[in-house]
C-alpha cells in the first residue's frame, strides 16, 4: 500500500489531549477507524471508537470509510451543544 498523508482536525478534548488543532499524519492506515485507534494510542484519547463519529472532507462519514490521500479527517467527540 502506497503511503498517504491525511490532514487530521481535532476538537474539544481530542484537541487538548493531542495539543494541536490540525496535524498531518503520514503513512496513514486505510480506514478512519484504524487511524483513530492509532491516534488514540499515541495521545491517550479516552473516548472509545464507538463513542466518536468522523467527518471526512467536511461531511459526516462512516468510520470504516477508506481514506484517500490528502483527505481531511475530523474525529467528532460526543456533542454537547445547546
Amino acid at each position: 500500500m502506497a503511503s498517504k498523508t491525511i490532514m487530521v482536525r481535532y476538537f474539544a478534548e481530542l484537541r487538548e489531549l493531542s495539543n494541536c488543532q490540525t496535524e498531518e499524519v503520514a503513512e496513514a492506515p486505510d480506514t478512519a477507524a484504524e487511524l483513530y485507534l492509532q491516534l488514540k494510542q499515541r495521545y491517550g484519547f479516552r473516548l472509545e471508537l464507538d463513542e466518536i463519529k468522523v467527518a471526512i472532507n467536511g461531511a459526516f462519514a462512516h468510520l470504516d470509510s477508506q481514506l484517500a490521500p490528502g483527505a481531511e479527517v475530523a474525529f467528532i467527540p460526543p456533542v454537547s451543544g445547546g
Binding site: F11, A55, G58, A59, I76, P77, P78, V79, S80, G81
Partner: protein, 173 residues
C-alpha cells in the same frame, strides 16, 4: 421589503461569537400569513450535575455545524407547514444567564410552530458538532458529554436529569 412565504432576509442559521438578540431575530419571523410564533432560548444555567457552574465555553466545527443545521431546518420545513424558521448558536465564552441557543418558528397555526421548534432544538443539540466546556466554582473545568448522563442518549429530548436541558422551568428560578 416584501418577502414571499419562506423567504427571509438574514441567514436561517448562524454560529456567532456575539450575544444572541432574540427580539431582533423574531422580527424576521413576521409574515401576514402567520398566526403563531414559537421561540426557544437555551440559557447558561448556574448548575449542572450537582456542580456550581460559573460559565462555559463552546467550541465548534463550524463548517459542519452550518451544513448539518441547514439539513435540520430543511427537515423541519418538510415535516410541518411553517412559514419561517431561524436558529442561532453561540461559540466562545459565555456567562451564566446568557442565551446559548435560539430557535424561532412562525406558522399559520400554533401546533406546527410548537412541533417544529421542538424538533429543531432537539436535533441541533443531538447533531451539530459543538462541544461545551463547563467551568465550576470548586471543580476542574470539563467537557460535558451529555450522552453519558441523564437518560443516556442524546436523541431523547427530555432527559430525567438536568444535564444539558435548557427547556423552560429548569433554567432559572
Amino acid at each position: 421589503m416584501t418577502l414571499s412565504k419562506g423567504e427571509i432576509s438574514i441567514p436561517e442559521f448562524a454560529m456567532q461569537k456575539e450575544s444572541i438578540q432574540g427580539c431582533e431575530l423574531s422580527q424576521h419571523l413576521d409574515h401576514p400569513s402567520c398566526g403563531a410564533t414559537v421561540q426557544f432560548e437555551g440559557w447558561v444555567r448556574n448548575h449542572n450535575q450537582g456542580k456550581k457552574v460559573t460559565g462555559l465555553e463552546y467550541e465548534a466545527y463550524e463548517d459542519l455545524c452550518l451544513s448539518e443545521a441547514k439539513k435540520i431546518l430543511t427537515e423541519a420545513k418538510q415535516k410541518w407547514s411553517i412559514t419561517h424558521v431561524l436558529a442561532r448558536h453561540r461559540v466562545g465564552t459565555l456567562d451564566v444567564g446568557e442565551c446559548a441557543v435560539w430557535v424561532g418558528v412562525s406558522s399559520g397555526h400554533r401546533r406546527e410552530a410548537f412541533a417544529a421548534a421542538a424538533y429543531v432544538i432537539d436535533e441541533l443539540k443531538a447533531r451539530i458538532p459543538v462541544w461545551k466546556k463547563e467551568f465550576y466554582v470548586d471543580a476542574p473545568a470539563e467537557w460535558v458529554a451529555c450522552h453519558t448522563c441523564g437518560s443516556g442518549h442524546s436523541s431523547s429530548p427530555y432527559p430525567s436529569s438536568d444535564c444539558g436541558s435548557h427547556h423552560s422551568g429548569s433554567c432559572k428560578a
